[in-house]
Structure formats: structure tokens, C-alpha cells
Amino acid sequence: MTLLSLKHGLARFGAAAFLALGALTAQPMTAIAGGKFVFANSSAYDTLDPHAVFDVGRVASRINMYDGLMRWQDNPPVLKPWLAEKVDVSDDGLTYTFTLRDAKFHDGSPVEASDVVYSIDRILEMKKGAYSLFEGTIAIGSTKAPDAKTVVFTLSKPSAVFLATVPEIYVVNEEVVTANYDGDDLGTTWLSKNGAGSGSFKLKRYDPAIGWQAERFDDHFFGWDMVDDPLDSIEFRTVVEINSRVLGLMNGDFHGTDGYLPQDQVKRLRDSDDVYVDEQESMRIFYSIIHNGREPMSDQNFRKALSYSFDYDGFINDILSGSVARDPVPLPNNMWGAPADVEGYTYDLEKAKEYLDKVEGDIPEITIGALAGYGQTEQAAALLQNGLNKIGIKTKIVAEPWPVASGKMRDEEQMYDLLFLWKSTYYADPNNWLGEMYACEQIGARNNSWYCNEEVDKLLSEARTSTDQELRKANYEKANMMLMEDAAGIYIYNTKWFGPFNKKVKGVRFSPIGNGQEMRWVSME
């Protein structure tokens, strides 16, 4: 035996290995088509409990498998009765009486008022998810079901935004959930991987590592007549890599993915023969919190210097390729209450220096916070750093993951001097932005700017409790202008949504609250 035969042996081994590989690759692939819609989602569905989470990234499991009394639809979002047939509001604005439609849960049992009562009390008891929307407004045990079809909410204090938050009360089947309690866990362990809703689709399969699959619920109260060929089933899979989501959409593995992709990927999808991109103006503002409670940011002149040091055009047009809309105020510019024709701050270093000169005392090094893993926040921080360096302000950028940042945001001492982030739509009312971000009573909780301006606060407080729509609109417009004038934050843009879908997909209805992921309207050619 020689070296030559050794080489031949290895060569034969190699050839055999590659032939085997070739044989394997010749296996047919299973096609995904027909009435099944597959969505590639960037966030992991680590729980399906509709009361445990309250984020936009995982809204699909809530909105498709559960129903609320009301539902936000379309863009701009319109609040429509859903499980409720009608709602009556008392003159004092404290009592909301909902009358339920005839509806069934997925197990065939009727949806009753007691299930709604159980659901709101469960949210309040769990203190997770949408709890913060109702805390202080509804007390546990205050919601009553005088009969099977009537639910009465009695608010602890008047709230003009209560109705806007009602869609977040997803109704669960009390009997099913309570039968699956594990000690005092309120059924969270069981409901994290099972379904107990009445939504348009019924859970078929769930794997936290993969996602979930659901079948059309033929007995859904809304019926299916309005869609010619409704989907048989839907599947939402977790695919964390952007490139994998995009490639999967291009080759037909997926029929849709999230609408907030980077512009280079959107362009790639637009160039694909099998994909279309639905462009809509959303309601998700990008801004920088300024810590108004700490020097020198407590000085309006310094805040104005900060606002004039950010290159808005460069960020929006160069970095983001014009894929977003300039929004100079803290309210999305397509939301009522946003003032029209506001010019806002521009990138003007001369003006920045002018205001900086008016600031008394030494300027310490400024810490600019960004969210690690969210490239845009880091890019914006770098851009601001560049502007501030040019006017002689020393800065440092700190990029930290969201759990770290969100913890610091609630601590006056630990909070960054500035922090770039988004504010999403949890309910379509200006209070979602202005009231949460700048009301004095929210300092340290939802107001992470430590901003408290009595005049602004009065406007916000009045708007939050009044039922006079004209007054509310006027108050929010005025508050917006005052906040901008006061440079309470650096307001940059309102997001556009670029929903990519396979060309077979028809009937997608985008709403900023559901992110275009309510699948009951969709069909496949």
C-alpha cells in the first residue's frame, strides 16, 4: 500500500460524502401555500397570555386569538365596538355600560359579562401587561356584571382615555382559566402556552422556540362573509435575523414580516418580483428624552442648544433614506391634537452656540444614552455627539440593553442626561404620548424627563379628564407647542410602516395599534 492509495482512499471518501450530500439536496421541499399565512416575527412569542404582555412586537397573538370589547381599526385608527354591541357613558363620565353581542369562546361556551369582569380583575391582579393603563382608574372588584350581557365599569376618577384603552382588555374564558390555576398563579403558566379566547383564530400549536399556529374559528361572532376566501390558518414564527426574514419572504417561505425593517432591506424587497410593500404613516415617534431635572439640562437655554445641535435632515434623509416623516413635536403628526405647520428646530450650530452662551456655569460631560441592539438610537446618539462636539460640549455615549435602560429611566440619579428611543402607540389618544411623557404626576414612572411645567400640566390634566373633544384638541395642540418651545425633548420623526407581503396576500388592513397583523381580513390568491 502506498501513499497514492491513501490519497485515492480519501478522494473516494470525499466523493462519496459529496454525492451523499447531493442526494440529500435532491429531496423535495414541502411548499407552503393555500389558505395558510406564515408571518416571520422579530420578537419571540415567549408567552401567549394576553394579560401578561403589552407590546407591539407580539400583538398578533392577542389580536388574532382574543377579542376585546372595542377594537382599533385602520389608519388613522378608529375605535369600533367589537365584542360589545354598544356602550353607554354616564353624564359624569364615571360609569361605562357595555352591552355584549352573542359570541362564543373557542370551546363553544358563550362569552358572558362575568368573563369580562374576570378579565379586567385578572389584569389588575397580575400587575403586568396593560395593567398600568387601568391602575388608579379601575379598582379590583369595581366592575360588575348585572346580567350575562351587561358589563358596568365604574371608574375611580374621570378619564377621557378609558374608552381608548378598553381594547386592551382581552376577554379570556373564566371557566377554562380558573380550572388551570397552579396555586396562586392566576393561570399564567397554563395560559402562557394555551388558548382561552374567542378570537378569529383558535390556537392549534405552540412552541415558544418556534412560534404558534392557529386555525380559523368559524363560529367567530363577526362572521366571515366580508372576506371572499378567508385564511384557513395562520402561523407566526419567530425569526430574529432580519436577513433571514427578508430572504424567507423573497423565496416564499413567509408571506409577511414586520414593517419596520431597515431601508436597504425594504428596497431589496421592493425589487423582488414576489413581494409588495405597503407604506403607511404610523404613530411611533423617535425622540430623545432630556433629563430636565438635572443641571445643566434644567436650563431651557441648554436644552435649546441641544435641540439645535442635532442634524435632523442628515439623520432622516441620509441615514434613514427619507423613510420617516419629520415630526417636530412629541405627538405623532397624524394624530389629532398635533398642531399643523410647525417648523420645529433645525440643525443650526450658530443658534446652538447662541443659546449655549446664555448658560451659566461650567458644562459637565453629557451622557447620551442609546439602546444596545437598536442601531438607530446609536446612530442618533453619534450624530448628536458630533454636533455637540462642534459647539464645545464634551459627551460620552452609553449604549445599554433595554432592561438596563428601562430600569435607569425610573431613577432620577441613574437616568442618562439624554436617551434616544421610540414611543409606540398603545392606544390612539394624545395622552398616550403627552400625558404619559410629561404629566407632573407621572414623574419617575412614565415621565422619565423629570419635566414638570405647571401650565403644561394643567392643560394635560384637563384634557385627560374632559369629555369635550374640542377642548381636548385645543389643549393638546397648545401643550405640544409649549413643550417644543421649551425644548423638553429632542423630537425627531414619526415612523412610517413599510409592511412587506407576498403578492398573493390581499386585504391587509394596517392599524398602528395592531401593526397590520390582524389576519381576519386577509386572504391568499
Partner: protein
């Protein structure tokens, strides 16, 4: 008998090693300025709500107390529950571990099956054109980033030529779970279509994961063979007329493999840890992504559970390496 003593000795070190690992990881995860409860409670939660939740989950207590409670729980087989989902951590780990183990085992197997013969080939052809070409292969394997290679493979084999699936572990949801290893489960079910589909899905991620490991195995095998090939016993055996093929594969390789086997043990551990990139690109539902997500969310119990499992696997892999050493070279077991 000596191998048995070796195993017992290693097992005795098992508990203190894991305990040390747990204490270090627990302390680090709890002292970094992260607030998972604020994250769970949502954007709009007040400080009071967050405090109430902390009390509910028991993370308002001093760190040593929390650590003690955790260790007592683990000793009783309770890994705790996820702060986010309230599901038992053990359930989450059990559902994901087979996917990671299956991919890693296949990758290590590929690395060994391809890397060892190529290493021998490079050594017996030292400084020839074969050696030079294989050197390019090994340098590439060590230098090319896994995510780049993964995307390249996807573009080429899945998108351009349509030869392999783009991502996922199987079309649809896979066979009924018996072991969680889809290759085994599909065979148990006698479902050859699913078996081939699983193999089909595994090609790209396994090769991507195996590529750098293959390069390491090749280099170590080559070095080992070169070291052994110059020994006196090789000259003696050749002088005695023993065929060169037999000398290389029976005697030289056996001596040369000691270093390679050590590397395979280390590679196994590092592939599990590094598999996260491959898992992310190929949408492979394994432990890597779970760990990353848990770390980003500061889901304490999930991080600890992952660490415990990884530590155990690493210790077992090293124990197997030691045993294999003993079998290859009986002097090692002395």
C-alpha cells in the same frame, strides 16, 4: 479499573465546579444594573407597581438570600420559573436543548469525519500542493465569520440554486416529540420523508457550524501526525515491511489523535456556546437564542438554568475526553 477511578474522581469534582459556576453567574447577573421587573411591568409602570412585582417574585430580598433560595431549589430539582412567562425553566430548557445538541453533535461529527482524514492527508503530503490547498481551507475556516458564511450559504444554496431550505429545523412542526432529536424521532416513527427533510434542513447550519471546527481538527491532526510520523517506531515498522497505510492509520493516527480528541471536547463546548449565530441566521430553535434573549431581558432563572445546563454538558464532554484519552493511550489513565 483506572478509568473507573478517573470517572469517580471527575464526578466528585462535578458538584463543587457547578456550585462555583452558579455562584459566579448568579452574582454577576444580579449585580449588573438591570431591572427585569421594570421591563416586565412595561413602559408605563410606576415605581410602586415595580416594587410590588419585585416583592411578588422575591427579588426584593438581599442577593445572598436569593442565591441560597436558588441553590436549595436546584438541589430539589426546581430551576425556578421564568420571570416573563411564569413557565418552569426546566420545561423551556428541555424543549430547546435537543435542537442545539442535535446540531452540535452533527457538526462535531462532520468536523471529525472530514477534518481527521484531511489532516492526515495534509501531514503525509507535507509542503506539497495538497498541503498548501488544505492550509487555505484551514485558515479560511478559522478566519471566516460564521454569520457571513451562513448568509453566503443561504444566498447560494437556498436562494440561487434552490438546493436546500433557507432556514428552520423541518418543514412545518416536525415529528411527534419522543426524544426531541428530530433525526431520532423521525426514525422511531418510521417516517423517512420527515427524516430526509430534517437532514435536508440540517445541511447548511451543520456545515456552517462545523467549518471552523473542521479547520481546528485538521490542524491538530496534521501536527499530531507529523509529530508521530518521525518517531523511531514508525521507522522500525516500515523497516519491518509493515505497509505504510497500516502504519499511518493503525499506529501513527492513534498516537496523533490524543491532541485532536482533546480539541474535539473543547470544540463541542465552544460550538454549543457559539452556535447562537448559526441558530439566529438559520432560525434554529435551540438554546442559543433562548440564552441571548434571557440575557437581554435579564430573566435571572433562565440565565441560571442555561448556565447550569451548559456547565453540565461541558463537564460531561471533558469527562468523555478523559475517558477517550484513557482508551486511546492507556498511560493516560494511570
Amino acid at each position: 479499573m483506572r478509568v473507573l477511578v478517573l470517572i469517580v474522581n471527575r464526578l466528585l469534582w462535578f458538584v463543587p465546579t457547578l456550585l462555583g459556576l452558579l455562584i459566579i453567574t448568579f452574582t454577576i447577573t444580579h449585580i449588573i444594573p438591570s431591572d427585569p421587573i421594570a421591563f416586565i411591568a412595561g413602559d408605563n409602570a410606576s415605581a410602586e407597581q415595580i416594587a410590588q412585582l419585585k416583592e411578588k417574585f422575591g427579588i426584593d430580598k438581599p442577593i445572598p438570600v436569593q442565591l441560597w433560595n436558588y441553590i436549595v431549589g436546584v438541589a430539589q430539582g426546581d430551576f425556578g420559573k421564568s420571570l416573563y412567562t411564569q413557565r418552569p425553566i426546566a420545561d423551556d430548557l428541555v424543549s430547546r436543548l435537543p435542537a442545539t445538541l442535535e446540531l452540535t453533535l452533527v457538526a462535531v461529527l462532520l468536523a471529525a469525519i472530514i477534518g481527521i482524514p484531511l489532516g492526515v492527508l495534509a501531514a503525509v503530503n507535507r509542503n506539497s500542493w495538497i498541503d498548501h490547498i488544505l492550509r487555505i481551507f484551514t485558515v479560511s475556516g478559522l478566519a471566516i465569520a460564521a454569520f457571513w458564511l451562513a448568509i453566503l450559504f443561504q444566498l447560494l444554496f437556498a436562494m440561487e440554486w434552490g438546493l436546500t431550505p433557507l432556514q428552520g429545523r423541518v418543514d412545518g412542526w416536525g415529528p411527534d416529540v419522543v426524544t426531541g432529536f428530530f433525526l431520532i424521532d423521525s426514525l422511531i416513527m418510521g417516517d423517512w420523508a420527515v427524516f430526509w427533510d430534517v437532514v435536508h434542513h440540517m445541511i447548511l447550519p451543520a456545515i456552517t457550524l462545523a467549518f471552523p471546527a473542521m479547520a481546528t481538527v485538521m490542524r491538530f491532526t496534521r501536527a499530531g501526525v507529523l509529530d508521530a510520523i518521525n518517531s523511531n517506531y514508525v521507522d522500525y515498522q516500515q523497516a519491518m515491511g509493515v505497509p505504510r497505510r497500516v502504519v499511518i492509520w493503525r499506529y501513527v493516527l492513534r498516537n496523533a489523535l490524543i491532541g485532536t480528541v482533546t480539541q474535539l471536547g473543547l470544540i463541542f463546548g465552544s460550538l454549543i456556546a457559539n452556535g447562537v449565530v448559526v441558530e439566529a441566521v438559520f432560525d434554529w430553535p435551540g438554546l442559543g437564542l433562548y440564552a441571548v434573549q434571557s440575557i437581554l431581558q435579564s430573566d435571572y432563572n433562565a440565565i441560571m438554568g442555561f448556565t447550569l445546563v451548559m456547565g453540565t454538558i461541558f463537564i460531561i464532554a471533558n469527562l468523555l475526553v478523559d475517558i477517550t484519552h484513557g482508551l486511546i493511550d492507556p498511560r493516560e489513565a494511570r
